[in-house]
Amino acid sequence: MAFDRTTFSQGFRASLPVLLGIVPFGVITGVAMVASGIAPLAAMAMSVFVFAGASMVATAQLLSQGTPAALIILATLFINMRFMMYSASLRLHFMHLPLRWRLAIAYLQADNVYGLTLARFSEHSGDPGKLEYFLGAGIPIWLAWQAAVLAGILIGAGVPASWRLEFAAPLAFIAMTVPLLRDRAMVAAALAAAVTVVATSGLPLRLNLIVAAGAGIAVGLLFERKAR
């Protein structure tokens, strides 16, 4: 298979503006992880092996609240479930490739990479260089993310607790949630989750998180049906 360098560099160029958003979030993720007491080496390993910012910030927050490991892993499953959606749609473009390439694509999958490549594929549906475009965008995003998390870990380790940088974790989630609230069903899902998580906060093992996620999803689906 010939490697299409032109398409690769097109993907690379498309990723550059996105890096501006990734780097601050990576730094915040690194800071939040060490601020919550995760050892720097474990935080960096998490960045490489999990490579999913939102679930890492959540882990930082949940660990600082004394959440058991099994529940943190369950929360990770919920937070990263969107990757399942991404893989379902990337499959339409990459199913013809050998398995080893699909496994690499799976690892590099991230919100921005998915957004960039799907925007491109919807315009160039018959593009033969889809893999090159995906790699061209995915590799610099991966590198920038890892460098940013490392910087955050190094910064975070030297910041005094009185700066209260651990509050950056819920703030990052607010920044991720608010743009999602585009229709009434989505707002209803978020409100139902907020009310449920507070109302069931007496449950052991922070199980209220899971109950609230289920309630939010159910209410979102109900609102969607009503609107039709």
């Binding site: 892993i73 937070i79 799976a106």
Partner: protein, 104 residues
């Protein structure tokens, strides 16, 4: 030790989700209800994570003007709504937290 166990579990779960439909045989489709439900997962889960940080203190509902986290979080929500910028939301929220802490 438990952090490494947590990390391994998170890595396996996350990679499995990423690989799911890229490795499933071509004949398997996505059930429509699952596809619709997946749409609400991020908003519901993320909110369930940050809401207690703003609304609870020692697992008890804590509303009122002395709750500096609730006030700072409200500022962050307003900034996120208006500008949709992660860095601005976090900067405004942290600044507001320190401001309200100093005021109260």
């Amino acid at each position: 030790m438990s952090i490494w166990l947590t990390l391994a579990g998170m890595a396996v779960v996350t990679y499995a989700l990423r690989a799911s439909f890229l490795v499933l045989p071509q004949s398997v489709g996505t059930p429509p209800l699952l596809r619709r439900a997946l749409r609400y997962v991020p908003a519901a889960v993320l909110t369930a994570i940050w809401a207690p940080e703003l609304l609870l203190q020692d697992q008890v509902l804590y509303l009122g003007l002395e709750n500096e986290k609730l006030l700072a979080g409200s500022v962050a929500i307003a900034v996120a709504w208006r500008w949709r910028l992660t860095s601005a939301t976090i900067a405004a929220g942290l600044a507001a937290l320190h401001l309200f802490h100093w005021l109260i």
